[in-house]
């Protein structure tokens, strides 16, 4: 039946109407994984036995208000702790680590009835934007197997693009959801920092880490964000703000002929985001997306933001510093292997971070970066006095060839040049497919909003998705 192709909302409706069972839904996903994951390699661990066991317990029940995701298969990035399921962060240090507890995100998914079907590949410790620095293997882009899926949540983005799962979870520190979503042509939502709990996520840079959904549609993104978001007493940085019913809000907008809602919205387009060297097709598809919004009645305003090269520098220092501190806990005593198991990328980042935090250099690097971080936050505040949301390309290019990251010391940072500023400021952002290149590779646009403006972002995204056909295209993997 190819039920694996369904979106989350389609699968929920099908289950409710008893068109098929959750067993059939899960089995179709495993069948797809068996058929094509040898080529794509999105999964580090596939948990077929556990998933089928869970499905059996559902019996004839269908999704309901209490368990809105009952029987829906999910792929989870391998840096989220899953009780009794190996969690490696694609790093050799953790190759045998089996957590004794669930990350809050995983707990919430399970409580909503979701079935974890596997753990997805990533850059080791999430250090990268290619999934090529995984200590285990490289994930391939389903649109072209000689290309990279992006990263670090490359496995989750590839699994969604190739219909190996119905829903997926990723995490972003600066680009790790949006950039792979752009390269794989799917919807990737990075929520406001503190909107979704980091508890049980193997930490990368704690002051920007943000878990979020990677999905086939904006509707799915709204549904899942609504389930994941909220205060968590295990993560003191989570916000006490009430979580809106995102899905209901965008549906109401849709029913009221949503398109008219978009008239009155002011969209800022930062001229600095069309950086030198941007691929022509990425640029053109972004301009076409702007035209779509114009036709829908939005007001387009050219704005100016701080040169993204400064965000790259700030991010590099903050991230390396926080990484060196976070990875200090891996001593091989309580869990995991010892520190000789770190890969090259991790060692390089720990070294730089230790240096920038060391006595005599702290002011010059870390403190300076934190001050420029303030300037970046203020820059966005100023921009949002003029516009409601900001739109630009997500990545300056389409998926790059396998092998390109070798020897590059700042590959990820330069790839993520257009998403770093918003991550540093903690802002929410989403990637949407904006079309395809001549070679058939997806291009992406991002929509960024003020802190906790996910509802506005999702509504705007939904209007765009309704007005375009891109989300319906699928890669050919036969």
């Amino acid at each position: 039946m190819n039920l694996n192709k369904l979106t989350i909302t389609e699968a929920i409706n099908g289950l409710k109407e008893k068109k098929f069972s959750s067993e059939e839904l899960v089995e179709d996903c495993f069948k797809r994984i068996k058929d094509i994951d040898e080529k794509v390699r999105a999964f580090v661990t596939v948990c077929e036995n556990e998933a089928l066991e869970q499905v059996k317990r559902i019996g004839g029940n269908v999704p309901n208000a209490e368990k809105p995701l009952l029987g829906i298969p999910f792929a989870v990035k391998d840096n989220f702790c899953t009780k009794d399921i190996k969690t490696t962060a694609s790093a050799k240090v953790l190759e045998n680590y089996v957590p004794v507890y669930d990350a809050t995100v995983v707990k919430k998914l399970k409580e909503a009835g979701a079935i974890i079907i596997g753990k997805t590949n990533m850059d080791a410790w999430a250090h990268g934007s290619s999934t090529e620095t995984s200590d285990f293997f490289t994930t391939r882009n389903p649109w072209n197997l000689n290309r990279l899926p992006g990263g670090s949540s490359g496995g989750s983005a590839a699994a969604i693009a190739a219909d190996m799962t119905i829903g997926a979870i990723g995490s972003e520190t600066a680009g790790s959801i949006r950039q792979p979503a752009a390269w794989c042509g799917v919807v990737g939502m990075k929520p406001t920092y503190g909107r979704v709990s980091r508890y049980g996520v193997i930490a990368m840079a704690s002051s920007t880490d943000s878990p979020g959904p990677i999905t086939k549609t904006v509707e799915d993104s709204a549904l899942i964000l609504g389930i994941l978001a909220g205060k968590d007493e295990n993560d003191a940085t989570t916000s006490p703000l009430l979580v809106p019913n995102y899905l209901r809000e965008i549906r109401v907008m849709g029913e009221m002929g949503g398109i008219s809602w978009i008239k009155g919205i002011k969209i800022g387009v930062p001229k600095e985001y069309f950086i030198e060297g941007i691929e022509e097709e990425v640029k053109n598809n972004t301009l076409k997306a702007i035209d779509v919004f114009k036709k829908l009645g939005a007001e387009i305003v050219e704005i100016s933001l701080i040169d993204p090269k400064y965000s790259v520098a700030v991010y590099t220092i903050l991230q390396r510093s926080e990484v060196s501190s976070n990875l200090a806990r891996y001593d091989g005593i309580r869990f995991g292997n010892n520190r000789t198991f770190f890969g090259q990328e991790a060692k390089r980042r720990i070294m730089l971070g230790t240096y920038t935090l060391s006595a005599g250099y702290f002011d010059k690097y870390y403190l300076k970066a934190q001050k420029v971080r303030t300037l970046i936050c203020q820059d966005f505040e100023k921009a949002f006095q003029k516009v409601d949301i900001i739109l630009g390309p997500t990545s300056p290019c389409t998926a790059l060839p396998v092998g390109i990251t070798k020897g590059a010391s700042m590959f990820g940072e330069l790839q993520d040049i257009l998403v770093e500023a918003s991550s540093i400021a903690g802002l929410p952002g989403i990637n949407l497919c904006s079309g395809f290149s001549q070679d058939g590779l997806p291009t992406g646009i991002q929509i960024i909003g003020q802190n906790f403006s996910e509802e506005l972002i999702l509504k705007t995204s939904f209007a765009y998705e309704q007005a375009t056909e891109w989300s319906k295209r699928k890669p050919n993997l036969e």
Binding site: Y193, Y310, R348, I350, M351, S358, V372, M410
Partner: protein, 90 residues
């Protein structure tokens, strides 16, 4: 480089030291760009949530059991983690 490696508790080969040193210099050169911006009167931002002094009730709750806590340890002894001696006796 050897000093930083010691601070970071990493063991690096000579070849790694050479490679990482080169990459470290490249990266530090790139981030020098920040000096183009004047930050004399700017306060640093260490977090963006605006939340402060978040606390919760100090209640006793069930936690991870001793058996579970030890379940992933490479070496254990009699219900404890087993490590190399951390004091040097001469």
């Amino acid at each position: 480089m050897r000093y930083i490696a010691r601070l970071a508790n990493l063991t690096l080969t000579d070849e790694e030291v050479k490679k990482i040193q080169k990459q470290l210099s490249e990266t530090l050169k790139y981030v020098e760009a920040l000096n183009e911006l004047n930050t004399d009167k700017v306060e640093p931002t260490s977090q963006v949530t605006g939340l402060m002094n978040i606390s919760r009730e100090d209640e006793i709750k069930p936690s991870i059991s001793q058996k579970d806590s030890l379940s992933c340890a490479m070496t254990k002894d009699n219900g404890f983690f087993k490590t190399k001696s951390i004091h040097e006796f001469k």
